[in-house]
Point group: C2
């Protein structure tokens, strides 16, 4: 590892993984529960009822972007993280770090958006904190949120670590949209587009699948590092191969355009209202039907898990060429979420 | 309210209260549970067992100070916040925001200190997140922690809102020490001292009081805004008067020295391992004995709640003069915790 923190340590790609596995995990040995999932699962001692808990820091720039702002983003992000374990967010806590001189009017807009999204989620704010820092010591506003989620469907047992071969891999919507929006909205970049971030709550989209008792193995929202990171995490965690059909990846034409212009790949870009699903092959069509009818019209089956190429993700191009799809490396786009 | 955020909005004093009551509360109406306590109390729907949840952002500068560092501070701070509701921290989650270029060696020291304090608390880390930001967009390192605490003593019903008259007010230790240390350790100030921050876990000090089933009404760790803020919050929340004997306030001579030099009052300075207790008058001596024998040798009875001067805090000087002790106002010392 380098002597100092690099931007790529925060990319959600291979260097982020290294920071966690080489620095955090060894030092925290003996005091961590779980790990490698979107949320941890705990319970109180006198009680067998489990809950999911997830914390994320939000540092997106710009604070306001097409389709959302940091207030909406942080509520969606934390609620989605517990949803990926099959839990419905019941409580949220939040810490606001604010730069001296930040406009009260902007703070109001953000807290309003935070409150609206919270109401939509059905969760309640149980604890909050505000810190103000001298001008120049943080850029405008950061929010950290923690969601505590309840398991309303006890049959679910979602994990990145137990995915078998011959499952279908689905995405719940178009890929790379949030990343493309942040790029085109960022100061000084100057791309104009009416493209909206996909930033949204995923539990309402997923609940009909839970209700239908389909065989789901894993869910993951493809934020930093995009679907490429999630696929590699799953392949590694479950020691399986994954084969993806490039032509089945749903990508908006505007996102394709931005990617071509800037040399990005949509599968490396962040999403904030799209998740990946690992579903038993026999349930895949049913899952897709439910998603299509319940607010996820662009959901698609994009590939399958295999016994070949364990721990690797293979991308099959429209010309039937195959290549490994690796973890993104380096830092494409800091402060995406 | 001003047009933009002022440093004093983060002081823990009157302007902080205004930001919360005039901006956050109205916008969040209908989606907040509790409020006005150190931690929120929730439960899952199919379960009557309650838990305490508290989130705080830590932005202390310098990151390393006499008696601790940000890693120790954030674990103590969040565990203490749930302890103030009578709950023992069982789970912690953490979000690390790191500036590009931050030294890996410093990060290791901080994570090590975080892990050691976590082990001491008995809580487990259930969820964590790291973000890396481009150089210049945050000052070195911020950590936000959330503690989830379990109630092991169901007879406790601690709240700032139900304090009756004729209770004793105690402090568990010397006041103002953390604030004085941060000031003397801060770059460019140049005060030399071997004074150590009081930064520590409070649950072990309080548990014998819970065990002894004393009549406790409220607990509060006196962080930002010092004991002056806590006393005013209690007086306001419970519509009572509080009378404090200035000569009974335990203050280290070095802290007195720093206060005299800089024109501070110890009762406005932050503490990170000292809490205030509101105890039935008849249990006060017993509470003090337990504190003295259980790791809080400097605990003291500093005053009483009264029916006179409702919502006001009165400070009685050694010369029997009386004056109102207000919320601190303005910003003495940003980035204290």
């Amino acid at each position: 590892m380098s002597d100092s923190i690099l931007l790529s340590h925060g990319s959600g790609g291979v260097e982020s993984q290294n920071l966690i596995t080489e620095l955090f995990y060894p030092l925290l040995e003996g005091c961590v529960m779980g790990g490698g999932e979107d949320a941890g699962i705990g319970s109180l001692s006198q009680n067998t009822e489990k809950f999911a808990l997830s914390t994320d820091g939000y540092v997106v720039s710009p604070l306001f972007f097409n389709g959302g702002d940091i207030g909406k983003l942080c509520v969606c992000g934390s609620c989605n993280d517990v949803a990926m374990m099959g839990a419905k967010a019941r409580y949220l806590s939040a810490s606001f770090m604010i730069e001296e001189g930040f406009l009260i009017a902007d703070l109001k807009r953000i807290v309003e958006s935070f409150a609206n999204t919270l109401k939509q989620s059905g969760a309640k704010l149980l604890s909050a904190d505000t810190k103000v820092l001298p001008k120049g010591t943080l850029d405008k506003l950061f929010i950290t949120t923690t969601a505590l989620g309840e398991f309303l469907y006890p049959h679910l047992n979602l994990s990145a670590f137990g995915i078998p071969q011959d499952c279908a891999i689905l995405v719940s919507g178009n890929i790379g949209t949030h990343g493309a929006v942040i790029y085109s909205n960022r100061e000084g970049i100057g791309l104009q587009s009416d493209l909206q971030s996909d930033c949204s709550l995923l539990y309402p989209v997923l609940e009909p699948l839970f209700e239908a008792k389909l065989q789901l193995y894993a869910l993951r929202d493809a934020t930093r590092g995009g679907i490429a990171s999630v696929l590699n995490e799953w392949a590694n965690a479950s020691k399986i191969g994954i084969e993806i059909e490039e032509e089945h990846l749903p990508i908006l034409s505007q996102v394709r355009g931005i990617c071509e212009l800037l040399g990005f790949e949509a599968y490396n870009l962040a999403n904030e209202g799209m998740c990946m699903l690992c579903v038993a092959k026999e349930d895949a069509t049913k899952a897709l039907e439910i998603l299509h009818s319940q607010g996820a019209p662009n959901a698609a089956i994009i590939g399958y898990t295999t016994s070949e190429n364990a721990t690797k993700v293979v991308l099959k191009t429209p010309f039937n060429a195959r290549r490994y799809l690796d973890y993104p490396s380096g830092e494409l786009l800091p402060r995406i979420c």
